[in-house]
């Protein structure tokens, strides 16, 4: 008798819970008299969506890596190097499409190297990718000769434009790419053997190996896929800035990791979801956007974001403990 209504509330809670943090953040700023009227306007939402693309693409890959029990600290350097390579190629006169492909492949290559070293040298991903963080950043600066690379404007730079070319697109092509890839990766994680194997490896690698999962190959594969997404993120960064900047995105790896963890990814592996990570990305993006619109000083913003990260994960934990 007394249990009935409780269970119903529980069900509703469970449905809403993953979005709770996001809803809270949006509600918070929508209630602020200063920005109320502008916060939820289409133009601002478009801005936030476009700003999220780079972190979101990174988070798609990072979700795989984290579910698989790994981590990638070289993510931000990878983005920088890929954007420099794309700019370099286009600046050297190659067709834009080739620049785009080269940028993505650069990212994939770094992922491949990460995965190969992690599996072959049997070193913890933290260290390998931390080393790679310096290597890729150094390489980016080297190739760009410590400068921004000024590539001529091409259609690539339209990918992140908030006023896209065929106006019926409404959102920037980059935003559409992000949505499409999020759906694709969500399906891959849930409905393919590759996806199930990533979960198994992250949960207990020894068990996965014993059950016939090709752990080495799967790990190399997911690091590579993650790298390709970072490469794409790099190209998007180039598209947005119109220059290849080797100093871009410093520290962004922590934002990407935070997004995945806020979205329920577990750093000990075996848990996480694309949906969750995307929510994490948008929580952070709306927070930044809202704080800036409010004109709050940056230090307040830093403090608030720190608090929200802890709170979001704590909330998620409480929910899990209840359902468990």
């Amino acid at each position: 008798m007394t249990l009935r209504p409780k269970i119903k509330i529980q069900t509703v809670l469970n449905l809403v819970a993953p979005f709770m943090g996001l809803i809270l953040v949006i509600a918070l700023f929508s209630a602020m008299p200063d920005v109320q009227s502008r916060f939820l306007r289409a133009a601002n939402l478009k801005s936030v969506a476009t700003q999220s693309v780079i972190v979101a693409l990174g988070a798609l890959g990072m979700t795989l890596v984290i579910i698989g029990g790994g981590i990638d600290l070289s993510a931000a350097s990878n983005i920088a190097l890929s954007s420099v390579i794309a700019a370099y190629a286009i600046n050297a006169g190659l067709p834009p499409l080739l620049g785009l492909v080269l940028g993505i492949l650069t990212g994939g290559l770094i992922g491949l190297v990460n995965g190969t070293l992690i599996t072959r040298l049997k070193l913890v991903p933290f260290i390998i990718t931390m080393g790679m963080m310096g290597i890729a950043r150094g390489a980016a600066k080297w190739i760009a000769r410590n400068q921004k690379i000024d590539a001529p404007l091409t259609w690539i730079n339209e990918l992140m434009s908030k006023s896209p070319h065929p106006p019926w697109l409404v959102l920037a092509p980059g935003v559409w790419l992000m949505i499409v890839f999020a759906v694709v990766m969500a399906v891959v994680l849930r409905y393919t053997v590759f996806g199930r194997h990533i979960f198994a490896i992250g949960s207990n690698e020894a068990a996965a190996r014993l059950c016939g999962v090709r752990t080495v190959r799967t790990k190399i594969l997911f690091y590579t896929v993650s790298g390709l997404f970072l490469g794409l993120a790099g190209v998007m960064e180039f598209s947005r800035l119109t220059v290849g900047d080797p100093t871009v995105a410093v520290g962004l790896e922590l934002d990407i990791i935070a997004a995945v963890v806020i979205g329920g990814g577990s750093l000990s592996g075996g848990e996480g979801s694309i949906m969750g990570s995307m929510i994490g990305v948008f929580i952070m993006a709306f927070l930044r956007n809202g704080c800036t619109m409010m004109g709050w000083p940056n230090y307040i913003q830093e403090i608030i974001i720190g608090v929200i990260i802890v709170a979001a994960v704590a909330l998620d934990q409480v929910r899990h403990r209840r359902t468990a």
Binding site: V35, R38, A43, N44, S47, Q51, K141, R145, N146, Q147, K148, D150, S161, K162, S163, E237, R240, L241, T242, V243, D245, P246, T247, V248, A249, V250, R288, N289, T292, M293, G295, P297, N298
Partner: protein, 325 residues
Amino acid sequence: GGPKADAPVPAGAAAAGTTTNAAGAAPKTLTIAVIPKGTTHEFWKSIHAGAVQAGREMGVDVLWKGPQKEDDRAQQITVVEDVISRGVDGIVLAPLDDRALVRPVQDAGREKIPVVIMDSGLQGKDYLSFVATDNYQGGILAARRMGELLQGKGRIFRIRYQAGSASTTDRENGFLETLTKEFPAIKVLIQDQYAGATTETAYQLAENLLGRFPDVDGVFCPNESSTFGTLRALQEARLAGKVKFVGFDSSPKLVQALRDGHLHGIVLQNPVKMGYLGVLQIVKAIRGEKIPERIDTGVTLATLENMDTPEIKALLSPDLSILEK
């Protein structure tokens, strides 16, 4: 400082000592360390070019070495200590902090290594000469340009660079103080938002600010990365050209923006000259010549109208080809 460090090394004495040494030993080329605040901004590339140019002309080696993380005071101290350990003949330093770098510079004095300061000031008197732009003056130029563009009224943003950066803070202050004094009808909507170190962070900041105040009339930015980030945000929001925009420092994209009318004024320093004079002064001092204590390398305003004059052109697109070899 230590017991003897309080007495600054007299310029003449230090220089004389070094020269004697150099003369006494086999004719060895001098090595001058040039230590910027960072290595990746266009501004520092130009300083580098100037320094290399001077090095060529004077026949000295230039050791170019900045802190590994841009704008990290502690790392810059480490770099100064390390070049002292290496035993260079002179140091040209752009201190990241007017106080924190005092002790390393004193250490150099103790090792009889002369120091010339460039770009930003340093407390005390442990160096021979100070070669820099008057940053506050730069801010004044920008404010006057803004006032002129807006005909004395309107609403603007003052975007700041990074907390604790002295030269940009001077520019920001010069701008705001002049504006409030000379153009009281201009309202500064945002004056305390920091763009952060990279273009991307500046871009996001400007985008979010424009989201709230799409009808702003003018924007001021105090350095290249914040100017470029803001420019991208304005272009994206289709506000470039409509919003009056005054920035700082040059890069090819900013020159293009000036030409396109997206940017209405760039305050230019003369970094090539700064690097050149820095190295020139120190070599002169080592060779026993007397050098001035303060050299102002000047600020200039570039606009669409004057950008094709040879002087401005040289400042807008400095010749960096010397670094290629």
